[in-house]
Structures are given as structure tokens and as C-alpha cells.
């Protein structure tokens, strides 16, 4: 059975997760997809082919950089996060934390504390 993705709710999530994972080590596309599944317990599932469009878009924004590397006889494109990527991750994480807090407040029924 093909894994279902949730594109509407996923806006911004692939970037966030990819930037987080690439802070730990450089990875290639297939490894990134596997790592996302493993780290999120299959809750977040990025489309197998779609991951490259996200990676390329991040690279165009200079949030990632890539290099071709041969490991165990296979030549692949590895991605690493840049300083701008770290900043982008920080912004995205902040937005998602705020959003998750707001949703949690709605779900728990407690009124939002005034700033």
C-alpha cells in the first residue's frame, strides 16, 4: 500500500524537518526520506520524489549546499545545511512552536494567556 502524505497540513513541515536532520550530518535524498520516517515514527511522510523539489528549492535559497560524493561505489548528491539554512530553521521552528502552542490551547480548552 502506498503511504499517504498530508500536503495541506504539511506546508513548511518538509523544510523544517529536512533542515533539522541535515544539521546532524550530510545526507542524500533517499537517506533523508528514510530518516524523516524513522525520526517521526512514520507520522510525517514526505513523498519519495517530492523531497528533491524541496531540497532544490532550499538550495536555491542558499539554505543548503550540495556536493557529489562517491560512497561504497555509488555516486550521490549529498546535502548540508548552511548558516542561512540554520537561520531559516530557527524561524520555521519558532513559527511552528507558536502554532502548536495555539492549537494545544484550543484543544485543551484553556484560554490563551495574554502577552
Amino acid at each position: 500500500m502506498v503511504r499517504e502524505t498530508n500536503p495541506n497540513f504539511m506546508a513548511g513541515v518538509p523544510e523544517l524537518v529536512i533542515l533539522r536532520l541535515l544539521q546532524k550530518r550530510e545526507m542524500y535524498g533517499y537517506a533523508i526520506v528514510q530518516a524523516i520516517r524513522a525520526e517521526t515514527g512514520d507520522v510525517v511522510s514526505v513523498g519519495e520524489g517530492v523531497v528533491y523539489t524541496v531540497l532544490h528549492a532550499l538550495e536555491r535559497e542558499h539554505a543548503l549546499k550540495s556536493r557529489r560524493k562517491t560512497v561504497e561505489g555509488r555516486s550521490r548528491i549529498y546535502y548540508t545545511v548552511t548558516a542561512r539554512g540554520l537561520q531559516r530553521y530557527s524561524d520555521l521552528a519558532k513559527n511552528w512552536t507558536t502554532l502548536a502552542g495555539a492549537i494545544h490551547t484550543v484543544i485543551s480548552g484553556k484560554p490563551h494567556a495574554a502577552a
Binding site: V2, G29, G47, E48, G49, V50, T53, H56, A57, I77
Partner: protein, 250 residues
Amino acid sequence: MLPLENVHERLLRAGIKPRHARRYVTELREHLFDLVTQERASGLDARQADERARLLLGSDAQLTAAMLHRGAPRTLAARAPWAVFGIAPLVTLIIAMVLLGKWSMAYFYPYRALSASDIPQTVRAIGIALTFLGSYVIGPALAATCVVTAWRQRLASSWIWAGLALLALASGALGLRVEFLQPQSGAPGGIRGSVIQSTLLVMSIRALRCLRCRFWRCECSDDAWPAKSPDQRRQPRRNHGAAGGLGSAI
């Protein structure tokens, strides 16, 4: 046919830069290979593993749409074919001719007073090479560049044909020509250079200059159609400057 070749073709036809389309498809192929290996390891036979991997990766339409949706960079030729195929080759041709003409004037200037037989062989060879380059190489090279660009990007714009037609006309009208003149009927030899080869174009430029003079009441130094005596018509036009003749119109 290689796997995912359809995705590559669709992206090129959508105007995505060939480099980006190629890289995307290369990475997808590598990913597909990894998926097949993974499925084989889980116990599926080769055919089942291929089908399952292809299903996981996504259909050609999905993979193409994902790339287009993300705003992958499009080529300038896809965004503005009128500029790439209509204007750029013409401008390049004119600039190339002007630069070659200027360089020729500077190079041949020291030999301006010599007759053809006194000009060193190397200089004559350079003159012939420049004539060949200016008349037969630059125009066709620009046309070939346009065709290769259009083919690489799978473009089907009518601007390609319009641009090639314009380029053909311009190449016919412009072309560097260096001639070494032998002394004749008392006239000394020399070097004659021209950039504009079309009589129609020369006459048009002269007519425009005269029109400008009529409207702005300036001094017209050049008659549009100067009357020539039969003797003048018979005699080749001589210009003892390094590059002059019809080239002076530019």
C-alpha cells in the same frame, strides 16, 4: 529509454533549465534504484520490486508537477523567446561586426599605403581569414547557436523561425570584407574594408541621413544617390584608409 525520461522531456518542454531538469531526473533515478534495492531486500521479485518502487516514487505527472509547483528556474528562452531568438542574435552580429571592423582598422592601418604585392603574406592571410570569419562564420555560428538552444530546451516558438529569418537577412547585409587592391590606371593600391555588404542597406542608411538633414536642417555631407560619371563607375572605389568604403556608413 532510461527510466523517468518522460519527466525530463516534460520539464524541458515546460521551460525548466536543462541543467536543473537533468539533475532532478538523475537524483530521481538514483532514488528509484535505492527503492528497488529496498523492495528486493523485503522479498519481492524483480518485476514486483520495480512496480512497487515506481509507485512509491510517484507518477511522471506527479513528479513533473512537483517540480513546476516549486517554481523551478525557467530559461530565459522560454520566458522571453523574442529577446533570445529575435533580438540577441542581431545585436550580437552587429557588435561582432563593429568590433571586427574596429580591430581591422587598427591592424591594417600601418599597411594602408602599400599596394597588394608589397603587403606581407601574413597580413594578407589575416585579411582573408577576417573576410571569411565576417562573411561566412559569425552569422551561421549564431544561427547554429539558436537552433541548438531551441533543441536543448525543446522550444517550439515561432520566434525561433522569425529570429533565424532576421539573422539570415542581417548576415546577408553585414559581413566584414577586407580587400587588397593592386595599383591600376595610375591609382595606387591599398587596403579596402567594408562592413556593410548590401547596397540596399547602404542606400537606406544614406537616405535616412539625408532625411535627418532635411528635418534638422543640418549640413548633409553625403548625397543619397551621388551621380557618377561613366569613368567613376568603371573605376573601383578606392579608400586608402585601413577600413573605409561602405563601412564608413556604420
